[in-house]
């Protein structure tokens, strides 16, 4: 079973490029459109989401042999439990109704059989590798998003250039370049109350009168960031019409992503995460644990897309998960840790409505180590394309050290 889209070079200029460094003339051309107010949102599904049940290879008979109780039924009109067909070979899990609409509107694409080449099946190690961008190396201290921020100067400096909607700064954003962890926009500054202004005033005075060469300037940025976010008036935010955020923490997170982007405070990189994807037991098929998560997941992201509206021309959203799951189900009607996965790319700049990558097949000899979906697209190729062609990054070799992220390897899901 083959997917469409084997990439090919458009311009011979690209053929000259090696080692991930884009030649100056191309960089300038790319920078003309890329990088201007462009935004990347990375959403991490922690726990290893089951790509085979999310983007279902319904034309493969093996899929149904391997998953007798949890496989998603072949598309059938009128059947609400069946896969939502995409291109005759693949279909969405029925809970991804919201994504199907985006797919039909060409705002959403899929890269299947993608992920990290390292064979670890440890959640911690694999998440680490995917966040540091150096699969196999455990001692990388910083994350690839931080390296992007470090090596690519901002158009306008902003404390909010790299933001994560988590309680702590994740590995992917850790490093020398400044990045902010915002657990919740409302809770960013000091607790509201009668003494808030007094407390802030005292702190500003203290740091303002200090000659500490390191702490004083940092504090200055801190107070500015707090004021800036407050001026955005988060309490009054109302989403655009048609943006239907699902209840629950993920919906809330997506809403805050929209808020941050629309408030124009210089956000360029946003990171968010969602957990609970580790379905070893009773994963469920068309109904069940995975279905519930997928419903929230797709509705939340779709609401974000709708809320951003026209702004989506500047925004690309990429989903990641540390690895996929075993091709066959296990004895507990769940799946175990696997290898390659399906990831989503969304945005106005994405040539959506298609699947990208190369499908390796599910026959036993085609599986990785005889058990998992094999990898045909490295996640760094997907992100590399976004970083270079959307954000205008030029130092890809520094962002993904040790990886030969040449532009000719890109899957080309971004519109030229």
């Amino acid at each position: 079973m083959r997917l469409t889209r084997r990439f090919f070079l458009k311009s011979s200029g690209i053929a000259l490029v090696g080692w991930g460094v884009v030649p100056r003339f191309l960089a300038r051309a790319a920078a003309a459109t890329a990088g201007k107010g462009k935004i990347l949102v990375v959403i991490f599904q922690r726990g290893a989401a089951d790509g085979l049940n999310i983007v279902v290879p319904h034309a493969e008979k093996t899929y149904y042999d391997l998953r007798p109780s949890i496989a998603i039924p072949r598309p059938k009109s009128g059947d609400a439990q069946a896969a939502l067909d995409l291109d005759g070979s693949f279909g969405f899990h029925p809970a991804l109704e919201a994504f199907k609409k985006l797919y039909d509107e060409k705002l959403l694409g899929v890269v299947h059989a993608a992920g990290s080449p390292d064979s670890t099946r440890s959640h911690f190690d694999a998440q680490d590798f995917m966040e540091t961008g150096t699969p196999g190396l455990k001692s990388t201290p910083d994350g690839w998003l931080n390296r992007y921020l470090l090596t690519t100067p901002a158009e306008k400096p902003s404390s909010f250039r790299g933001v994560s909607l988590t309680s702590q700064l994740p590995r992917i954003l850790q490093g020398p370049a400044p990045a902010l962890a915002i657990p919740g926009i409302q809770q960013f500054g000091f607790a509201p109350g009668p003494y808030k202004r007094i407390v802030e005033g005292g702190l500003e005075a203290l740091y303002g009168s200090s000659s500490d060469p390191l702490l004083a300037p940092t504090a200055g940025e801190t107070f500015e960031a707090v004021k800036l976010l407050e001026s955005v008036n988060p309490a009054q935010y109302s989403p655009a019409k048609g943006a239907d955020y699902p209840p629950g923490p993920f919906g809330q997170t997506m809403l805050q992503v929209a808020q941050l982007i629309k408030s124009n405070i210089g956000v360029e990189i946003v990171f968010a995460e969602t957990g609970g994807w580790d379905h070893h037991v009773n994963e469920g098929g068309a109904q069940g644990q995975l279905a519930t998560l997928l419903r929230q997941f797709s509705r939340g992201i779709t609401a974000l897309v709708r809320d951003l509206g026209d702004r989506m021309a500047d925004v690309v959203i990429v989903t990641l998960s540390e690895f996929g799951r075993t091709a066959s189900e296990n004895g507990n009607r769940g799946t175990d840790h696997g290898h390659a996965n399906a990831l989503f790319v969304l945005g106005g700049a994405v040539a959506g409505g298609q699947l990208y990558g190369r499908w390796p097949g599910l026959a036993r000899e085609q599986l990785f180590e005889g058990r998992d979906l094999a990898l045909t697209t490295d996640f760094r190729e997907v992100l590399g394309e976004v970083l270079v062609h959307h954000l205008g990054a030029t130092a890809l070799g520094n962002i993904f050290p040790g990886y030969d992220a040449r532009p000719e390897k890109f899957r080309r899901f971004l519109r030229a």
Binding site: A80, S139, L180, R333, E369
Partner: protein, 672 residues
């Protein structure tokens, strides 16, 4: 939960003890090998600097309840003499530490071995395996099994509902979805309920260990020992969140780190290399000669034999789990027989055979998914041993050295988790060939190959330099002078890695006592929180662990540094917009008594002063151990004046708390 302390008598006794020369310390009149050079600092400045470096900051008199006759830390050091104080701190066994020991007495997980921890707080996968496979095999009634493992009650509930729903119509309200109900239930739990739930699970181990570390930092008299334990744990980092390490880290700190923190480097190195926590964390337990020819069955028999030698047996852990949950041990023993049979069966990769349903395309029954492949050489530990633990990244080793070191450590493995993890040397995994490490030939000596490597690297001059550099970074400044590092390295080499001796060199150096070194370091979150608690005389309960939770928000959740490099000890890692904001919030929260389990009272003397200026001056002096700068004092005074109308109802108390919060958040307090 509060601790009761027997105050007056004990306090007097302790105060007396602190002045008596204890065995092992210097006798009265005996000169310390430490000499404090004259670098222009006053004696008080020296003492504050020392307490900020050798420990977690000075405690002012009100923090020690001066009314009971206990002098402040500064006073005490003045009376003893700086050199004598340092010498005493270098011999922690001579320092009584009853307060801390009483506070920790209720933390039962601290006293438990990994085996006991696994039995009392089993990992969820083990419980699930027991409930779903073992219990039916043993003929247990599923309800009885469920009752024995209440943690799994919810899972069974969800399972039942799902099976029910499978037959029903798809159209369903979200509210009835059991997973969403569970999510909502979790959200609606009160903090107390959440804490209770955590305390009955493996999370308790992390909680108690973290809270114990914090309590020691705040209350222990053996401050240098605490600082060195923290230093070495970070140097030989393990991540408590990685799989089995959750049950191994307590023992790691207590047995491999703390006893050697002020001893000989080679002993410390050896203890960490062979501890299960490190073997698991850096994967050496998986490492084996790829050419090794071993039989899985023979291996299992070896495990069983080892267990018997140690007076236990395979399945002892499971029996203990059942016994603790009220099951009749005879019933549990029935399982043992089966387990021993299993020892002789073909290997399976998991707790029990798990066969996927259905048949493979060729009509054969499916084989269980192989989770573990054939073992091969794992370089992880070898690399970090050279790069992070000893020589350092520029220490002059090559990639080939890493491979050779890895070959030497093949066979250094563990008894698997379910038997109660312990170090085990398995010769069948060992690479028998000759190896060449850093120019030295190592002929096959089995387990001794690893020991030889440790001898080699411990004595390597690059190691002396690297360790001295890290110590100087911790104790002096982010870029310590080369002259100091050289001196310390020389002592390291000459004393064969005697940590005490190296520290004596450090504390006698001009570089340490130089005015340039004073307040040169930015506090890490742990140092910030511990020094804040000490400086304010905060009363920290054992539960809820407000300060430990604050540390998570500040980016230093204890024992949870994922990469082997541990937490960074330089300012750039801890000073950023977000980090500074969080520190300020913690400071204000602490002063306002908003951190659960921590109470701060403004000192009585401060509440009795006449003017705001006096309040600020006194609090500043007490908190920082030194006079505030004129600009800081003026700024605080002005802001307090502005605040006074709004604080009217709270009076002096409110003013004092506000000033305390500001002082804790001030740039001066972020430094040490």
């Amino acid at each position: 939960m509060k601790r009761r302390r027997f105050r007056s008598l004990l306090a007097v006794l302790l105060t007396a003890l602190l002045f008596l020369p204890a065995p092992g310390a210097l006798a009265a009149g005996e000169k310390s090998p430490i000499t404090i050079p004259d670098t222009g600092l006053t004696e008080e400045q020296k003492i504050v600097h020392l307490l900020n470096r050798l420990g977690y900051g000075p405690r002012p008199s009100y923090a020690l309840r001066a009314s009971e006759g206990r002098p402040s830390d500064i006073e005490r050091v003045k009376r003893m003499g700086i050199a004598a104080y340092i010498e005493q701190q270098l011999n922690p066994a001579t320092i009584p530490d009853e307060d801390v020991e009483q506070r920790l007495a209720g933390f039962k997980t601290l006293q438990m071995t990994p085996f006991q921890l696994l039995a009392a707080y089993p990992p969820p996968q083990l419980l699930r395996g027991i409930e779903q496979r073992l219990a039916p095999e043993m003929g247990m009634d599923p309800d009885a099994a469920g009752a024995m493992f209440p943690e799994l009650e919810r899972y069974r509930e969800l399972q039942q509902r799902r099976e029910q729903q499978a037959g029903e119509n798809a159209a369903k309200k979200e509210d009835e979805d059991p997973v969403r109900r569970e999510l909502r239930r979790q959200e609606q739990m009160t903090p107390e309920e959440r804490m209770q739930q955590a305390m009955a699970s493996p999370a308790r181990i992390v909680l108690e260990l973290s809270q114990a570390k914090l309590l020691r930092a705040v209350y222990s008299e053996r401050q240098l020992e605490e600082v060195m334990t923290d230093f070495w744990f970070n140097h030989f980092n393990v991540f408590i969140g990685k799989g089995a390490d959750r049950w191994l880290t307590t023992s790691y700190e207590q047995e491999a780190i703390r006893p050697h923190a002020l001893g000989k480097f080679r002993d410390l190195l050896g203890a960490t290399a062979s501890h299960p926590a490190m073997l698991f964390y850096l994967d050496n337990w998986l490492s084996a000669d790829p050419k090794a020819d071993y039989d899985e069955r023979a291996l299992r028999q070896r495990y069983a034999a080892t267990l018997r030698e140690q007076g236990t047996y395979p399945g002892a852990l499971l029996v203990e789990i059942f016994r603790q949950r009220g099951m009749d041990p005879i019933q549990a023993q029935r399982y043992i027989a089966r387990q021993l049979d299993r020892m002789n069966e073909p290997p399976n990769s998991r707790f029990a055979n798990r066969r996927p349903a259905g048949r493979a395309p060729d009509g054969q029954p499916r084989r269980p998914a192989q989770q573990q492949q054939r073992r091969g050489l794992n370089e992880n530990y070898a690399r970090e041993l050279l790069e992070l633990h000893t020589l350092g990244v520029d220490g002059g080793y090559t990639q080939q050295d890493i491979i050779e070191v890895a070959r030497c450590f093949t066979g250094w493995t563990l008894l698997p988790l379910q038997f109660g993890p312990r170090f085990l040397y398995v010769d069948q995994f060992h690479d028998r060939g000759a190896k060449r490490v850093l120019g030295q030939e190592i002929k096959n000596g089995g387990r001794q190959d690893g020991e030889r490597v440790l001898d080699l690297v411990a004595r390597h001059p690059a190691t002396a330099r690297f360790i001295s550099l890290k110590l100087a970074r911790r104790f002096v400044s982010d870029s310590p002078p080369a002259s100091l590092v050289d001196k310390m390295a020389k002592t390291f080499r000459e004393t064969d890695g005697d940590i005490r001796a190296v520290l004596r060199t450090l504390f006698s150096s001009e570089e340490f006592w130089s005015p340039a070194a004073v307040n040169a370091k930015v506090k890490t979150p742990l140092e910030f929180v511990a020094s804040a608690a000490r400086a304010t005389g905060a009363e920290v309960d054992d539960l809820p662990p407000g300060l430990v939770l604050a540390l998570r928000g500040l980016g230093q959740p204890l024992y949870s540094a994922q990469p082997p490099t541990g937490y960074k000890d330089t300012a750039d890692a801890w000073v950023s917009t977000g980090a500074l904001l969080n520190r300020m919030k913690v400071a204000m929260g602490l002063a306002a008594n908003r951190l659960p389990g921590v109470r701060v009272e403004p000192p009585a003397e401060a509440l009795r002063v006449e003017s705001t200026r006096q309040l600020v001056t006194q609090l500043g002096q007490q908190l920082l151990g030194q006079e505030l700068s004129e600009s800081t004092r003026a700024a605080l005074e002005a802001e307090l004046a502005k605040a006074t109308p709004a604080l009217e109802a709270g009076g002096r108390q409110a003013q004092a708390r506000l000033a305390l919060g500001w002082l804790l958040a001030s740039p001066e307090f972020q430094r040490r």
